[in-house]
Symmetry: C2
Subunit: 144 residues, 2 copies
DNA sequence: CTTATCTCTACTGTTTTGGTAGAGATTATA
DNA sequence: TATAATCTCTACCAAAACAGTAGAGATAAG
């Protein structure tokens, strides 16, 4: 029932890129330092994110990473699906064939409905949402 | 992000008890057979469920288990909390002290909100709800 | 050509998960 | 009172997932 570090760190990685969106390629090393996560470990998340187009990279010196599209168009659901797989509480919701009981299984229906509650929230939240909320938070702090 | 077998089997165990609510103690062996789960494994779930009052037991011959209260008053959220622990996507939502970033962490806020979407669904669903839906399902089948 | 970066393969230790074994305690009933 | 059926408890185990590390190679800017 818990999100693994893959999902959590991945969102923070993408969020960091969103905060620096438009500033050219960002070094993984810098992200790692800002977020307090090992760069080696973060790199493992890059591959799947690249292959689904959520991230683009530039190699060589002065290389780095940028978002594959605007922050407004990247939802947390997308990110998590890439890093954690299907966002269902149980696998049989998306793949009924996993269990012969599926057609008549009430539990399965319930798991599906509960998963949806969470998924809709994550689908409606984009990186841009997070950036905005971060800015609001900083302003509130400053206004004290 | 997945529910473990503890949670899934536990709900099926409780659901089975709900289906036979009012018929006196139910043998664990019978539940195990009906649900296709090892009785030994199911037993591991009994302890926590008993200690939180969701189940009562009778020892000795003709012993067995009954629900600790009416099916209407047992929500899936209760069952899952006992078997899976806190129903949050990440631990820092319920225990901010786990991470020094908590006070300013936007991710954490998002995880909290997404968790809530799921939790409300699970809180509003009781064992009685499941029994009802099961009956409806059977009637629809029969009516075809 | 050197330096900073990304890319890739492989490995490893720890924790969680899912499950089993077997002995002991309790009670209905014959 | 014997016995059979059931719950109770401790301990153990194998496999998978998780979190992280090491080190060498490819690429491009200056």
């Amino acid at each position: 029932m818990k999100l693994s570090t893959r999902g959590r760190y991945g969102v923070r990685l993408m969020f960091d890129l969103a905060l620096h969106y438009g500033n050219g390629p960002i070094y993984l090393k810098d992200i790692a330092e800002r977020q307090g996560i090992s760069a080696k470990y973060l790199w493992q998340l890059i591959n799947p994110l690249k292959s689904t187009g959520l991230i683009n990279s530039t190699r060589g010196a002065h290389g780095g990473y940028v978002l594959g599209k605007e922050p407004e168009r990247i939802s947390l659901k997308e990110i998590l699906q890439v890093l954690e797989g299907s966002l269902c509480l149980v696998d049989c919701v998306d793949s009924p064939s996993l269990c012969e009981r599926s057609p008549s299984c009430i539990s399965r229906e319930i798991w599906g409905e509960a998963s949806k509650g969470m998924q809709q929230m994550l689908e409606n939240t984009t990186l841009a949402t997070m950036v905005l909320r971060q800015q609001e938070k900083l302003q509130n702090e400053a206004g004290k």
